[in-house]
């Protein structure tokens, strides 16, 4: 049975229109690689400048730009199904819940001293 199914579908025409089997040009991959290398240099350089609290903000901003490039192009999210996109958004969403709720606890513990007096 499995063999019969396989006969009908694999070579079908829709294969070429399927977004998930999108074949990106080599130039795109090399371009993303170059951008990632440049941003690595930028983040090392940025760490040598005194920006106080904005050092970490800038470092995380650059890391997030690099991460977005990796996910969208190297991991093909741009050419993936809506279901896969929702999965990735869910991952970011729950990660932010983890960070934000934990930090609202730890960063506000000192505030209790004002209340108790």
């Amino acid at each position: 049975m499995a063999q019969e199914h396989a006969h009908f579908h694999p070579g079908s025409k829709q294969e070429h229109f399927d977004p998930s089997s999108h074949i990106a040009p080599i130039s795109m991959y090399v371009g993303i690689w170059a951008a990632l290398m440049i941003f690595t240099g930028v983040t090392v350089f940025a760490a040598t400048i005194e920006l106080h609290v904005f050092n970490i903000v800038l470092a995380l901003l650059i890391a997030t730009i690099k991460g977005t490039l990796v996910v969208l192009f190297f991991m093909h999210l741009r050419y993936s199904t809506k279901l896969t996109m929702v999965t990735v958004v869910a991952a970011i969403f729950f990660l932010l819940i983890l960070f934000s709720l934990s930090m609202t606890d730890y960063l506000t513990r000192d505030w209790l001293t004002f209340v108790s007096h």
Binding site: M1, A2, Q3, H5, A6, H7, H9, P10, G11, S12, Q14, E15, D18, S20, S21, I23, A24, I26, Y29, I32, W33, M37, T40, G41, T43, V44, A46, A47, T48, I49, E50, H52, I56, A59, L60, A63, K66, G67, V70, V71, F73, F74, M75, H76, S80, T81, L83, T84, T87, V88, A90, A91, F94, L95, L98, F99, S102, M103, Y106, L107
Partner: protein
Amino acid sequence: MATSDIQVAEHAFQHHFADMEQQRETSTFGMWMFLLTEIMFFGGLFCAYLVYRASYYQAFVEGSQKMNIWLGATNTAVLICSSLTMALAVRCAQLGKRKLMGWLLIFTMIFGFAFLGIKAKEYTEHWENHEFPGPHFHFQTGDPQHPATDPVHTEIYFSLYWAMTGLHALHMIIGIGLVTWILLAGMAGAYSPIYYSPVENVGLYWHFVDLVWIYLFPLLYLISKKHGGA
């Protein structure tokens, strides 16, 4: 070619899927769900890092001064190169270029080993300097004029450093094993432009491990190059 593309598809096709299209989409979705759990897994460590860094900032700055920024930056570049060869290997799988895919996977593995080699050199230096948490932990800043202000909490920095980079290195070792598997299976003709999900999914795993390092590098190595140490 030993096997035709259709034969490969017939062999790979699972009866509970409607067609190869659905099978591939399901497989990619499953891999992303696994990566979601991996993100939350590493996320716990990143959260612990954020909490302790916010609480003992100076201790973390002093710890990060001991990192070799150039080795860390080189390793970042090595991983980015490995991601490029991995992405191109997946592209070759999509196009059915088996031989080129094999070479690109070999280069990916070489970059992977280079990363682990550089990491091992860093680990050796930290180990010899007693910068490993536990009974023999002993922390000194590089500058005798400015002794360590808070070595107890710098030990927490090093606990997180070893745990996070160690877990990342473990993922690299598993990744090299997975690349070996698809290299051997690919050479044996297991994949074709109609069926290449294992290559695509190992690629997703490899890029994910790269993604984790993209955040680890600035957080552990680049806390502050200039306004720390004093």
